[in-house]
Amino acid sequence: MNAPALQVVDVVKRYGSGPTEVRALTGVSLTVGPGELVAVMGPSGCGKSTLLHLAGGLEPPSAGHVLVHGVDLDGLSPAEMARLRRNHVGYVFQRLNLVPSLTALENVMLPLELDGMRRKEARAEAEAALAGAGLAGPWDRYPDDFSGGQQQRIAIARATVGERSLVLADEPTGSLDTVNAELVVELLTELCVRRGTAVVLVTHEPRFASFADRVVFLRDGRVVDQTRATDRAVDDTAVAVRR
């Protein structure tokens, strides 16, 4: 059986030490299967974004383990970590982080070229990702030439281009109106169904969380509840973690 796309196992994240220590996460576990969309909700400061940073290897946990496709991030060298992130993990943020001086196509090609892919192949992959994200061409325009919803589609194409099969989305709808925001979440849902991409969606909007197969609620850095998983979802308690 394939390993889950993401396993977060009993992680703790502390910032500072002694009297100034802040616990952002305490004993959080989360498993996301291939093709599963999991939404993470909770009040401001509950640890949603920290959880996403740990899941993507942007920060190490203070305790516990994070596994991406069965690989424990704890044992990776910086070069291995960078390679795993480039090959398997895509990020979508509220702030799009598109490079303004590159065209839409070049923005999506960028992670592939950084990984050493030849330009012609990278171009073909990027065009497929942009088409898959439902963005009509021409793609040789700059990010500012597109609407907010279209820019988010470029960001999603960049996050999913190539073989990336885990997308971490932090409030990707934050800057969009309701109709465009719904289209973006609809697109993420389609990616799960069509390509088997696993998506973790941090949101404070119940409307968008309702697209998820499972919704996990955080409060004060702990998981306080979650909705029942659908058939496609993986039950956290059933996953044995090999250490």
Partner: protein, 187 residues
């Protein structure tokens, strides 16, 4: 609301038989409100008694047509604001307020449980809506489903506010402790 203004609204576009009004009402409200045909005829009788509709026989069936008085009543209904003279007394609000009165700490459990259950309802509605959209759902069905989603969102937002205010209260009264809820204690 009662079905009375709904029947007048349908009759405003032309005369109709009782059963046509039943099916027309259900279609116009996106299947949200199923009518008993007896209820339709009782309401039509009352509208006739009040001079809002007249009856003739067409193809051996009673056919109803709106009158000027009926159009006047309908126009008043379009203009009237939804009733807001009584405070909201739905079960969710009462449940949370009574839980807070009983034990503020345990009220967080009630908020959490209600929110999870309501989110599951929202997820089910979303799946149904997506399935209908794939089948080419019409505008009325989509808007009816949207209305259900938006109302559930309203309840969820209120529960979020309940949680935030309860946590604020907890931090004010016990600044150095984590509010362990009954659910967490049982994990």
């Amino acid at each position: 609301m009662t079905i009375r203004p709904g029947l007048l609204a349908l009759l405003a576009s032309g005369p109709s038989h009782g059963y046509q009004l039943k099916t027309g009402f259900e279609a116009a409200t996106g299947g949200m409100w199923k009518l008993n045909v007896g209820q339709v005829y009782t309401t039509l009788d009352r509208l006739g008694r009040d001079g809002c509709v007249v009856v003739d026989v067409h193809d051996d069936q009673k056919r109803y047509a709106i009158t000027a008085a009926g159009r006047e009543e309908l126009e008043s209904w379009w203009q009237a604001l939804p009733g807001d003279d009584s405070p909201p007394r739905d079960e969710l609000v009462m449940k949370v307020l009574l839980a807070i009165a009983a034990a503020p700490q345990a009220a967080l459990d009630v908020v959490t449980g209600q929110r999870t259950a309501l989110t599951e309802v929202l997820q089910r509605r979303r799946r149904a809506l997506r399935a209908e959209a794939r089948g080419g759902a019409d505008l009325v069905a989509r808007l009816a489903a949207d209305a259900a989603v938006v109302r559930a969102e309203g309840d969820l937002r209120w529960l979020d506010l309940c949680e935030a205010r309860l946590l604020e209260l907890h931090r004010t009264t016990e600044p150095n402790s984590h509010p362990v809820t009954n659910q967490e204690a049982h994990r």
